[in-house]
């Protein structure tokens, strides 16, 4: 177990005790789905791939993929991405 894993474990424990939301303490992505028309991903690290059927977004613990049709990036800001279109699924890789 490396020093980095230990630090992560301690931080998770602290976050659990203090009930601090994960996206604040652990830099986890917060994903909001609005029906099947909009996905808002907060705390992202940039996009990996963008086509009109797939959007892959880099996040702290890997990658989030949004599958769908006619996808468009409604809005991109420093820490927030808003994807619109007909959404079929959201998965973590």
């Amino acid at each position: 177990m490396s020093w980095r894993d230990i630090r992560r474990k301690i931080r998770k424990g602290m976050a659990d005790i203090l009930e601090i939301p994960g996206e604040v303490a652990l830099d986890l992505p917060k994903i909001i789905l609005v029906g099947n028309v909009q996905v808002i991903i907060e705390n992202h690290r940039g996009i990996v791939e963008y086509t009109d059927t797939l959007v892959r977004v880099l996040v702290e613990s890997g990658e989030v993929a949004v599958h769908g049709q006619d996808l468009s990036l409604r809005n991109i800001m420093q820490d927030e991405i808003c994807v619109e279109g007909v959404i079929k699924g959201v998965s973590f890789n």
């Binding site: 940039g46 996009i47 963008y50 996808l71 809005n75 800001m77 420093q78």
Partner: protein, 410 residues
């Protein structure tokens, strides 16, 4: 988000078509440098459409060079571009400014005057007085003071007790209240009090004038009750001839109260089987535009949607311009559905209804303030058997039957 869009519009924004192989990297780099991108759409395998602020275009050029992509401006949006476009069309701007100026100046005049509240005085006279005081169609609003005009109109038209002027938009609403003046011409002429209707005198009280009838007399309509002609007490019969003067009568306005019994009779009937038509309350409106003889339906059904109906038509004609009537009319037709009904009454119910009808009729005839002494209801039988109840209502009242009637002294 919405605020950001408005700001983007204010500072100007462009939509760009970016082509290249590593477009994701382009987006990430732009994002990490704080260039706001939105409405990103994929156009092809190596082409995307993006929107960004005007201030972001220069740094994007740098990013494009580093990611090996190219972009071209697709559309320019926002306020700065609007201004530069308008700079090329000076006349359009001039027209817009002139339009606004015309709207502003025209709305600072009074164009219409409406008078309400007058009953005796004509609109024309009031408008004339207001014009003399300084308010007329076409006067600028800063040229007059409402309070001063009100005062002046009051001075000019003594028959008004109050004038209120309200300026709403380009219309001046003049509201007046007239003084209630006693009729001067009637006042001076001598009058009789005559009977307004036939009756039996019960009580007579003379305040001025000379009583001609006495209690217990039966009078006919038009008969003089209290005369306005007062003859001097007859001195002749008493005797000495020296005092006999050729004295004529004195003329006064007769005043007094003459109470009499008056009889009224009214007839009411009610068929045992009542048939008729009644509104159901549903109505449909149709609006047509009539232009030069052609009718164009705007709203509502083409035909009346009911089997039985009553229709009411209102025609609104476009105002005449100079002497040319505009050939435009708006015709609004309201169809009200009616439904026939049939009710069978029992004999008692029909009697009550017939009586009610007679009462209703009689109430119209009897003046307010008269005392009802007696009422009698008679059912009339015609001898034949018929599905009808007829009643006769007789009412006896006590009322003032005096009516003023001016006369010419002979």
């Amino acid at each position: 988000m919405f605020v950001l869009r408005i700001l983007a519009y204010l500072f100007g924004c462009v939509s760009l078509i970016v082509s290249g192989r590593t477009l994701e990297r382009f987006i990430n780099m732009a994002n990490s440098r704080g260039i706001h991108l939105w409405d990103i759409k994929r156009l092809g395998p190596d082409r995307i459409l993006i929107k960004t602020r005007l201030s972001g275009v220069k740094p994007l050029r740098h990013i494009a060079r580093r990611t090996g992509s190219r972009f071209s401006v697709q559309e320019r949006m926002g306020f700065p571009f609007l201004i530069s476009r308008l700079r090329r069309r000076r006349m359009l701007v001039l027209g817009a400014v002139m339009f606004l100026a015309a709207l502003y100046t025209l709305s600072s005049f009074v164009w219409f005057i409406e008078v309400t509240g007058n009953t005796k005085l004509s609109d024309h006279k009031i408008i004339e007085a207001v014009r003399e005081a300084g308010l007329y169609p076409g006067v600028p609003k800063w040229r007059f003071e409402v309070a001063r005009i009100e005062d002046e109109v009051l001075k000019k038209l003594p028959s008004l007790s109050w004038v209120g002027i309200q300026i709403r938009g380009t219309k001046a609403y003049i509201e007046v209240a007239e003084k209630k003046l006693p009729d001067v011409t009637e006042e001076k002429r001598p009058t009789h009090i005559v009977a307004a209707k036939a009756g039996l005198i019960e009580e007579i009280l003379v305040l001025s004038g000379q009583a001609v009838v006495k209690e217990g007399d039966t009078v006919l309509p038009g008969q003089v009750l209290i005369s306005g002609e007062i003859w001097p007490p007859d001195a002749l019969q008493e005797g000495d001839e020296a005092t006999v003067l050729p004295e004529g009568p004195r003329y006064v306005q007769a005043k007094g109260i003459v109470r009499a019994r008056v009889w009224y009779e009214e007839y009411g009937e009610m068929p045992l089987v009542e048939e008729g038509c009644r509104f159901t309350g549903t109505e449909v409106q149709r609006i047509c535009l009539k232009v030069a003889g052609h009718r164009i339906k705007i709203r509502g059904p083409r035909e009346a949607p009911f089997k039985d109906y009553e229709s009411e038509t209102k025609v609104w004609q476009a105002p005449q311009w100079r002497s040319l009537p505009l050939p435009v009319e708006i015709i609004s037709t309201t169809f009200r559905e009616i439904r026939p009904y049939r009710v069978e009454h029992s004999r008692e119910r029909a009697l009550a209804l017939a009586r009610e009808e007679a009462e209703k009729r009689i109430r119209k005839v009897i003046p307010d303030g008269s005392k009802i002494l007696n009422r009698k209801i008679n059912v009339i039988y015609t001898g034949k058997k018929e599905p009808l109840v007829r009643v006769k209502l007789e009412v006896e009242t006590m009322e003032d039957i005096g009516r003023l009637k001016p006369f010419k002294p002979s």
